[in-house]
């Protein structure tokens, strides 16, 4: 990200002159109070919004210059997890997770196998024919993570993934997200929970009022 700003209305900046570089396989926490610009920054990264100023290079592509047809192709390489899960209530757990594979035309047999393996890894295989509303909050977030990871994305973005969960479930969900990073996926987690951030010893980018307050590298990381 090079000198990126995002304004929603004249004079109302969500992000101001942000420059950040994330390495492949890196695990980064974005922290800051509500309204600091964490969600806006994530939305820019998966091209849900366009920056008002600046350039953003994701997976080798300047996404500011991407055409409409290239944006879906970029998103297929990025998994996104939201605080409100964004699951389809009328589809089963299996169908929700399968969405990421269906959009790339994965054959049904392969899709079923991959979804089952992912749900098993997250301890949800017995829930695969249930509908999301019949699951607990933690289970719903695990389904959302499964959907984000089943396509083996190169980047995982998580926006307040534990915001609606109790402390035990928070640790469980963060453990799942952290395990993705160990497999080489670049992980960016936006959260306002400072206790959580300090527990993992990862790089921390602190935002406030749309600006980077400080950028603390992971302990032992000279970069």
């Amino acid at each position: 990200m090079y000198h990126v700003s995002k304004a929603y209305a004249a004079g109302s900046f969500a992000l101001r002159d942000i420059s950040l570089e994330l390495r492949r396989g890196e695990f980064v926490f974005l922290t800051g109070p509500s309204g600091a610009g964490k969600t806006s920054l994530l939305k820019l990264l998966f091209s849900a919004e366009e920056p008002t100023e600046g350039q953003i290079v994701v997976l080798g592509r300047n996404i500011v210059r991407l055409g409409p047809a290239a944006i879906p192709r970029l998103r297929r390489r990025i998994g996104v997890v939201f605080q409100d899960f964004k699951l389809l209530p009328r589809r089963t757990v299996e169908e929700n997770v399968a969405l990421s594979l269906e959009v790339v035309g994965t054959p049904p047999r392969v899709t079923r196998a991959k979804v089952f393996a992912m749900l098993k890894q997250l301890g949800l295989q017995h829930r695969r024919y249930h509908h999301p509303l019949s699951l607990s909050g933690g289970e719903q977030q695990r389904v959302a993570i499964a959907r984000a990871l089943v396509n083996e994305p190169e980047i995982l973005l998580a926006d307040e993934p534990t915001g609606n969960l109790d402390p035990d479930l928070t640790l469980e969900i963060m453990g799942l997200i952290a395990s993705a990073a160990t497999r080489g996926t670049t992980v960016v987690v936006a959260t306002h929970e400072l206790d959580l951030v300090s527990r993992y010893g990862k790089r921390i980018v602190r935002l406030d009022a749309g600006c980077v307050l400080d950028d603390t590298p992971a302990p032992g990381d000279g970069a």
């Binding site: 998966f46 849900a48 409409p68 047809a69 944006i71 879906p72 192709r73 970029l74 998103r75 297929r76 390489r77 996104v80 964004k86 699951l87 389809l88 009328r90 969405l99 990421s100 269906e102 959009v103 790339v104 035309g105 994965t106 054959p107 049904p108 959907r147 396509n151």
Partner: protein, 301 residues
């Protein structure tokens, strides 16, 4: 190829799921398309049957030239030769006074007793002039009649020209009304289908948002909605054909007099297989264009 088939399977499943999730709005769409096509189809049936009558009567269209009494046989023979050379004439047949009387008697049946009191056959001899097949029309009749007018030995000319012209005007009127009605109904139906699909898009905006988040292209999201429109349209077309068939078989016989008036005793025909396919295809087309219009610019991927 395999990927395309996999995606086709997904589109069909998603479209069917969409139809199941909003049965009432889907049914409204199907009924609207069905009613429109019933009206259009009824006009088409009427029009084609009326045109069919013209085609059928075309074969028996001819000009009758009544001959003056008391002319020598040589003159009559010369007249036949002249008439045969007139442009558009296929053949000329002489109908003698006796044959005219026999025909009349056969035509009126018991009414022929009226002629029994007459000493002399009052019916004139005539020439029955058949037109070439490509000239069997009101215009063809007019041209031949104009060519024959004033020829010595002909006392009067008769043809079905006036009737054909009047019937053609009626056919043109039915065609114009049917065409106008079809255009209005097509536009109204498109509007309703467009709004139905737009409602479906709104109802499933969460699904669209999530699909685009996981990398679905605009086309990938749109195709199931277009398929829904297509299925609704085709279903409306099938419903219209069934309803028209029911009306044709059960209700039409009750309007025998009206049919006699319009079609002159010709047995009305229903649509051919090709025409049924066209009607169903028309419904599918309405659904397709309606849903495509609903998806144009109405949502963001």
């Amino acid at each position: 190829m395999r990927r395309a088939l996999v995606q086709l399977g997904y589109f069909v499943r998603t479209a069917l799921r969409g139809l199941r999730s909003s049965p009432v709005t889907s049914a409204v769409s199907v009924v609207t398309i069905g009613v429109s096509l019933v009206l259009v189809g009824a006009f088409a049936l009427l029009l084609w049957n009326m045109e069919g009558l013209l085609d059928r009567f075309g074969d028996s269209l001819y000009v009758t030239a009544y001959l003056e009494e008391g002319r020598p046989v040589e003159d009559r023979r010369a007249l036949v030769e002249i008439v045969a050379t007139v442009e558009g004439v296929e053949r000329v047949r002489v109908v003698s006074k006796r044959e005219a009387l026999e025909r009349f008697q056969a035509g009126v049946g018991r009414g022929s007793a009226l002629l029994e009191g007459l000493d002399e056959n009052p019916l004139p001899a005539s020439l029955e002039i058949t037109l070439l097949p490509e000239r069997r029309s009101a215009e063809g009749l007019r041209v031949v009649v104009e060519s024959l007018e004033g020829l010595p030995g002909i006392s009067d000319l008769a043809s079905g020209q006036d009737w054909v012209e009047g019937y053609l005007r009626a056919v043109a009127l039915v065609r114009a009304v049917g065409l106008g009605l079809s255009v209005i109904l097509a536009l109204a139906t498109l509007l309703i289908v467009t709004n139905t699909i737009r409602l479906a898009v709104l109802a499933r905006r969460d699904e669209i948002e999530i699909l685009t988040l996981v990398g679905a292209s605009r086309t990938f999201v749109a195709i199931p909605f277009v398929m829904e429109g297509l299925v609704q349209g085709a279903a409306g077309g099938v419903a219209a054909v069934l309803l028209l068939l029911g009306l044709f078989r059960l209700v039409l016989p009750g309007f025998e007099f009206g049919m006699e008036f319009l079609l002159g005793g010709v047995t009305p025909r229903f649509f051919s297989v090709g025409e049924i396919a066209a009607l169903v295809g028309g419904g599918a087309g309405l659904g397709l264009f309606g849903s495509a219009a609903a998806l144009t610019g109405g949502w963001k991927a």
